[in-house]
């Protein structure tokens, strides 16, 4: 699964730590997501999208194999 978290983070001028704080997860989680090592739960994905003011599909995209 591809994600645009890093891009959106840059647009909103947030560090990983700040984003983690706002969402209520650890910084490891944000980092793992950005590196593609972790697929977030639905709730987490929705929270992140909501924080960035975007739709979930704008931030997270299914890859072709999935």
């Amino acid at each position: 699964m591809k994600n645009k978290i890093k891009i959106e983070r840059a647009i909103h001028n947030l560090t990983q730590a700040e984003l983690a704080e706002k969402i209520g997860v650890s910084r490891q989680t944000i980092n793992a997501m950005e590196l593609g090592k972790y697929v977030p739960s639905t709730i987490l994905a929705l929270k992140i999208a909501k924080l960035f003011g975007k739709n979930v599909e704008d931030v997270f995209q299914l890859e072709d194999e999935e």
């Binding site: 997860v25 490891q28 980092n31 793992a32 972790y38 739960s41 987490l44």
Partner: protein
């Protein structure tokens, strides 16, 4: 893994202390013949067979303390519990199971007779220990990666 099945983070330090104490005394009493006078059984009552009471409870108590300590250490919640930590915990549990049974299979093949009893004894604690090591190793690596990135 549901957070409600985990112990509070406060218990982690107890887990460490109990594990180390238990580990020390388990090996001392089993292999070093150390017995604590404190844990001597006073009565002369002895039932035969499976439930025969030992005179001294040092090794039994030590093993129990070790088991409880490892459980507390392994299953106390992190300071910040989130879904990533749950996933890591699950991964570490799987690893522990696989590695434990692979090692057991290898020792079944290569170790026989009375020496195998030592392996069986280690088997009581090995899954928990592997799990604890693997879990904290992953967390350590992730933290280190974070530090490098910042």
């Amino acid at each position: 893994m549901r957070t409600s099945l985990l112990f509070s983070h406060r218990y982690k330090i107890w887990g460490i202390l109990m594990s180390l104490t238990g580990l020390l005394f388990t090996f001392l009493s089993t292999y070093g013949e150390v017995q604590l006078k404190l844990l001597e059984l006073r009565s002369e009552q002895k039932s035969k067979g499976f439930f025969e009471m030992p005179i001294n409870f040092t090794d039994e108590i030590a093993c129990l303390i070790l088991i409880v300590g490892l459980l507390l250490l392994g299953f106390s919640a992190e300071k910040k519990e989130d879904e990533r930590i749950s996933q890591i915990r699950l991964n570490a549990l799987q690893w522990a199971m696989y590695l434990h049974y692979i090692l057991l299979a290898i020792s079944i093949i290569f170790i026989h007779g009375i020496y195998f009893l030592n392996i069986l004894f280690l088997n009581v604690f090995l899954p928990l220990i592997i799990f604890i090591i693997r879990f904290h190793w992953i967390i350590f690596n992730e933290n280190r990666r974070l530090l490098n990135e910042k």
